[in-house]
Amino acid sequence: MTDQAVEHEVGRSRLRKEDARLITGQTNWTDNIQVAGLLHLAILRSPMAHARITRIDVSPALERPGVVAAFSGADLAEGLGSLPCAWPVTEDIVLPDHPPVAVDEVRYAGDPVAVVVARDRYAAADALEAIEVDYDPLPPVLDLEAALAEGAPLVHADKGTNRCYTWPLATGGSFESVRQRAEVTVKRRYHQQRLIPNAMEPRAVVVTPLAASGEYTVYSATQIPHILRIMLAVVTGIPEQKLRVVAPDVGGGFGSKLQVYGEEALALAVARKLGRPVKWTESRSEGYLATHHGRGMIQDIEVAATREGKLLGLKVDLLADMGAYLMLVTPGIPLLGAFMYPAIYKMDAYEFNCTGVFTTRTPTDAYRGAGRPEATFAIERIMDELAAELGLDPVEVRRRNWIRHEEFPYTSIAGLTYDSGNYEAATEKALALFGYDDLRAEQRERTERGAPVRLGIGVSTYTEMCGLAPSRVLRDLRYAAGGWEAASIRMLPTGKVEVVTGTSPHGQGHETCWSQIAADVLGVPFDDVEVLHGDTQAAPQGMDTYGSRSLSVGGEAVHRAATKVVEKARKVAAHLLEASEQDLEFTNGVFSVKGSPEAHKSIQEIAFEAFTSHDLPDGVEPSINAETLVDPENFSYPHGTHLCAVEVDTETGRTRIRSYVCVDDVGRVVNPMIVEGQVHGGIAQGIAQALYEEAVYDAEGNLVSGTMADYLVPSAADLPDFVTGRTETPAASNSMGVKGVGEAGTIASTPAVVNAVVDALRPLGVHDVRMPCTPERVWRAVKEASA
């Protein structure tokens, strides 16, 4: 018997396989790629938010040293179609044309207008300055409400409107009727500021053509090599089978690399035109204009409730800033939130309306949480306002409304079936870790004394829908593709294992976690498993990584594929051991005959038998490899309770986070260390929205927070330690019971922090502070409340 792993891999904090190359600098970021004859592409971008291009002359750039080619939008228009939007959310949605390089009109500051190709990146950057462009300015469109008014200037004049779509949802009874019988109603307007995702690796793309056969390899810092391949085939007309897309090491995404970008199509088009390899790498400040933004919504939310604090109904009216064009899933982002406003609460009526609005700003699209952080923020903020209105503790008002653990599975008012959860348990644990009662006592003491530095406590009891997504649901939402995921397992002749996954990690640790899953099912050592991903040649099928889907859909696929391998191996083992399949036991990678343990075959031995196929049963093909595609039957619904204590200096307006506690229920956990890391990072990004970050535009439509010196990504010195805890109610919708964790922290933390800030100031008469809660905004809120 071979020496086999006995300890279960799933549930262990395995150190990551990915780390060795990352901590020694042996990485393969896209910008690292060097090939002979590589040309560098640089892009001239519009300095104006909205203008007609009246003249463009790229020819002076050709005179510059090292320049190989220069193109205007018109030069590239042939053979380069409109960038795709895969989620036309309504039948009558306005879908504007989106050329990768503008031809006659620019619609946001940063819209590409010309391209230079040169021998090195310095020459390319210099040559941009030689290009001559004349613009005839058009009025910018920046205010979401004004944009919808009669006679407003139009982003896309040919469409006759800035309204992209209106998407309604009404479930339960009518909101108006429950409002009539409600004893209390609370209505608020919240602003979701625009955010810049800021993955640490700037985007980059390298295209290497094989002109003779019309084949192209596209290396891109992308989360979605598989979707990208399909879309690039559509945009460029290059046959899909001639395209190979590789996502090498990718340095974070957070949704910003869930995209089919103009630069990817451009690099491919230019490589095809010139028959030479090209590279484009964005600088950070270029990326602030060119990489999609997140959030950007105005939320009008109203709750109707009884005097006891029992929710009766909820109404949400949303204006969502699409930006200038519809990118891959731009219109669908608010819809991912549409189902989450009712959150963990029971009620009788829910009404939701979302209107997407075009503006002359960088397009928006997915950013960590995508629609769900916005929804969670609004409902969790207004639950605090309801509590204040009724004089109830914010935790108590939640308790009176949430779904109790014995009520699962529970179909929410929005129509989602929550399979499992225990809000009571997570909340009790969080309150205990936090020291809730002591902090409340201290808060009262400070309030009574009129202390200049107030204490505030914020709570957020969130859930989310992730594990995107059941394909039939996507069909009903008019999304253009499915939500399945693929995995295959290859048992190599030497007994080692290759796991091929359709997910495309960029920091999540799939190489480690998928190894753990496969090792457990197959009974092979963790180190014997290699995970292949992110290359359409190695992993031809996949739906990639976003929406906290990788584990609950892609990991599930690995689990099922490995299970199939065992079942195939069982047939061979039965034949070799001259036993019936039913008489075989499979433990720690070894088949043995029940009652006669000396008769056994390891799965590695069977892999070799399959390879030689000298003695296979009749009708059995010479392989125990397996592949599977999993279409999830439901979303998964992580939940948890986050608590934040802040100290707010009422004199300066500065907020300091004093303590942060969270208890998350993400179902079964494959690797606790990685889960904790995801939670930490998610919380940090949520805090950043609450306190620090905002993409600010001036009245002309220029992005004024245009560099990393102006857009405040918090550092280690700006953030506290987090206390993390877990409860575990397994998901019922997949065989491993996992739920996903990538977005939970971000979804939960923003309202916890803002609730804490407002809680600190409520005794002074403050009911809201707009995000980010900058010192000046806090100071003004206090000043205005006391005036």
Partner: protein, 284 residues
């Protein structure tokens, strides 16, 4: 992004540097540590024809005493200023404030002289040197001249340096017997100060005998809060200090930008001046 092309000179003495600058005229930029200049070049906000790298002129580096004055070479890095025993003993305010500049890697390269010559009113050190009543020693084609800090900062990003002049030394009177504090208010650790207050306090018999207040980012140049300084003389307790500091924003003209409005900056100047003085005076 990529810096635009430029010619490069690396003089090895002050005289050589001055003569290179004199030959180049207005199109030259001095490169010391480069921590302000390089980001400007990379964002293509500056297009010098010639960059004069003074980083290898040993005489520009180091700290020495000259009677009651501390003389700090313009090329002394922030890192070295923070750790220099003479600076710590005789100009502790400078050491304390320098430790708040940017981050450790930037402080390894960035220099005191570079920060002052850049004349950014949002920089921490101009207001500090102003509060210290420092002087700049400037070398030019016709020799050296000394410019008091109050005359050195002319306007936003504009110093009294002529194109053919080089800042070589910063002279600050020793402030032994003074207590001090730099109160910096910024949104994240790396961000520029929304407002900073450099306070020096000399106490006598329980009262504030004299106070000097330098303000960061309260106008197009660093400023002294003269009215508050006058009101603080003789202040003998928390209330008196608080009253005096109400004058801290007098005569300032703060700007509106991404991080704050003028009104808020004026408010902060008053609050932070009070806090800086109280902390400096050991009264907080």
């Amino acid at each position: 992004m990529i810096p635009p092309a430029f010619e490069y000179a690396r003089p090895t003495s002050v005289d050589e540097a001055v003569s290179v600058l004199a030959d180049a005229g207005e199109e030259a930029k001095v490169l010391a540590g480069g921590q302000s200049l390089l980001p400007l070049l990379r964002l293509r906000l500056a297009f010098p024809e010639l960059v004069v790298d003074v980083g290898r002129i040993p005489e520009l580096r180091g700290v020495r005493e000259d009677g009651d004055t501390l003389v700090i070479g313009a090329l002394t890095t922030h890192h070295d200023v923070i750790r220099d025993p003479l600076v710590r003993r005789h100009a502790g305010l400078l050491a304390e404030a320098t430790a708040t500049v940017a981050d450790p890697a930037v402080r390894h390269r960035g220099t005191l002289g570079g920060s002052l010559a850049h004349a950014d009113p949002a920089g921490d050190l101009p207001a500090v040197v102003l509060a210290l009543d420092g002087e700049m020693v400037v070398a030019g084609p016709s020799g050296r001249r000394t410019v008091p800090a109050r005359d050195f900062f002319v306007d936003y990003l504009q110093s009294a340096l002529a194109p053919d002049e080089l800042l070589v030394e910063v002279r600050v009177p020793k402030t032994d017997g003074w207590s001090y504090h730099y109160e910096k208010f910024h949104r994240v650790a790396q961000a520029w100060a929304i407002v900073g207050v450099a306070a020096l306090v000399r106490r006598d018999d329980g009262r504030i005998a004299e106070a000097r207040i330098g303000l960061t980012n309260m106008g197009s140049t660093p400023l002294r809060a003269t009215a508050a300084e006058e009101a603080l003389a003789g202040a003998d307790g928390l209330d008196a200090v608080a009253r005096a500091c109400e004058a801290a924003a007098e005569g300032t003209r703060p700007s509106q930008d991404l991080s704050a409005s003028p009104e808020y900056r004026e408010h902060l100047a008053r609050v932070l001046t009070r806090r800086a003085v109280l902390t400096a005076g050991g009264m907080g």
